[in-house]
């Protein structure tokens, strides 16, 4: 069964092949469900001129913020880039090219990339700066803009449980962008909290079928909380 055993034994092996100038699609929302160790490995490798596709860009000193610190990112597609002072600075200095993309459009662009849909129409952003230069088309009396799919050289994903075939389940709202990211990488790497035996995951409850996944690694996670809100 070597053919479907996608486990790799080190983070170095997990990110083997990543090169300067590549496009990396990352799962996660805020700091929730981010592939924190895969990001750290990208930092360690020192590759640069990366295009990153991710809803957010981490915070100073954690998540994708690590790659900002090292000036490894030259372009980012994201819906929200607040909460990161270094990011602001690089954006204002034009050190980084920021393509702000509505959150739903970003999710759909990833899904489309994985699903062989090269482009789709959406009302989101019509009549706003996001629609500038994009084709506008009317369907049933309403205006929509054309948005194109995204594919990454790498997709980096954070799962909860997986089997060695690469079938993945996500935990609670750490799911977010991860399932779409997983479909849209030429090479998809998933890090998880636990690797279980094939058959332990109920087939109809698998969020990401293994066909999308190239490499899988078990890691340990800090899972930092961005806004700790509790009631007494």
């Amino acid at each position: 069964m070597a053919g479907f055993d996608k486990r790799v034994s080190s983070y170095e092996e997990a990110m083997e092949g990543i090169e300067n100038g590549m496009t990396v699609i990352a799962g996660g929302f805020g700091l929730c469900g981010i592939p924190e160790n895969l990001i750290a490995e990208i930092k360690r490798r020192g590759v640069n001129d990366l295009t990153v596709v991710s809803n957010n860009c981490g915070v100073d000193g954690f998540g994708l913020g690590l790659l900002l610190e090292e000036r490894q990112i030259s372009k980012i597609l994201a819906s929200y880039v607040g909460e990161n002072a270094l990011f602001e600075q690089q954006m204002l200095n034009d050190e980084i090219d920021v393509v702000l993309t509505p959150q739903g459009t970003l999710a759909e662009k990833m899904r489309a990339g994985g699903a062989g849909i090269p482009a789709f129409y959406t009302a989101t952003g019509y009549g706003t700066p996001i629609g500038d230069g994009k084709e506008v088309r009317e369907f049933n009396g309403r205006h929509y803009i054309l948005e194109e799919a995204i594919i990454g050289d790498f997709a980096i994903v954070k799962g909860w449980k997986a089997d060695r075939y690469g079938n993945v389940m996500y935990r609670h709202t750490a799911q977010n962008f991860n399932p779409m990211a997983a479909t849209a990488g030429k090479i998809t790497v998933v890090e998880v909290e636990e690797i279980v035996e094939p058959g332990e995951l109920e087939p109809s409850q698998i969020h990401t079928p293994g066909i999308y996944v190239d490499r899988i690694i078990q890691g340990t996670f800090e899972k930092r909380i961005e806004k700790r809100t509790v009631r007494s």
Binding site: Q103, T105, E108, T128
Partner: protein, 221 residues
């Protein structure tokens, strides 16, 4: 007297109907959840992939894998569903959310909204706001009626970059509740003690004032 943030949330909460799926934006909209009327149940949608958002967690319940769209730790109520961002925005863009409440910098008499970007100042990004306004046909905008310097935020035409075009039909400000229809704001209610004249003065867009403009009432707390 201009409404407090709490009063604004209270007034918006009166627009809730039993069985509504509701998306509440950050700020005043979030407070609406505190004023859901008795006998009415609503299901809160959080666009990071949670339908049926519950209360903040206790220390024991705290879980880094359970957050809302504001990145706050939350809980899920019984009967909640959790899904991907693509599924979440399928709901939103597909018009399945009954009511969206969100803040704005400006709205205009054509129902345009500007809420995400002030050129020259920091641009944090639109997050899910553009999808929310494009997907919902039932949006309430909450905002102050005018800036600190007295400049109206209810305009003939938005000056800031838009979040969405022609998508807003209801606005609650600290001074009034208004509807937008056929290229005009229609004054429906005024805050307690606020005069129609003050509202007229602070509304730059076309304003239609009916003969009678009822005053909002709030229970003493």
């Amino acid at each position: 007297m201009a409404l407090t943030r709490e009063q604004m949330a209270q007034r918006v909460a009166r627009e809730l109907e039993d069985g509504f799926y509701v998306n509440l934006g950050i700020g005043i909209p979030t407070l609406v959840a505190n004023y859901i009327p008795d006998g009415i149940d609503v299901m809160l949608q959080s666009e990071n992939g949670l339908l049926g958002m519950g209360r903040y967690p206790t220390e024991d319940e705290l879980d880094s894998d359970m957050i809302n769209a504001g990145k706050e730790t939350v809980t899920a109520r019984p009967g909640a569903a959790i899904f991907s961002s693509a599924e979440s925005f399928a709901m939103i863009r597909g018009g399945h959310v009954d009511l969206t409440v969100l803040g704005a910098f400006e709205v205009d008499q054509e129902g345009n909204i500007a809420s995400w970007m002030i050129p020259g100042k920091l641009i944090k990004g639109m997050g899910g706001a553009m999808d929310l306004v494009a997907g919902a046909d039932n949006i309430i905008c909450t905002m102050t009626h005018a800036s600190k310097h007295g400049e109206s935020k209810l305009l003939a035409k938005c000056e800031l970059p838009l979040t969405g075009a022609g998508c807003i039909s209801r606005v609650l400000t600290d001074l009034a509740y208004l509807e937008i229809k056929d290229g005009a704001f229609i004054l429906k209610e005024r805050a307690p003690g606020v005069s129609v004249e003050e509202i007229i003065e602070k509304t730059a867009g076309k304003l239609i004032v009916p003969d009678h403009v009822p005053e909002m009432t709030f229970d003493a707390e």
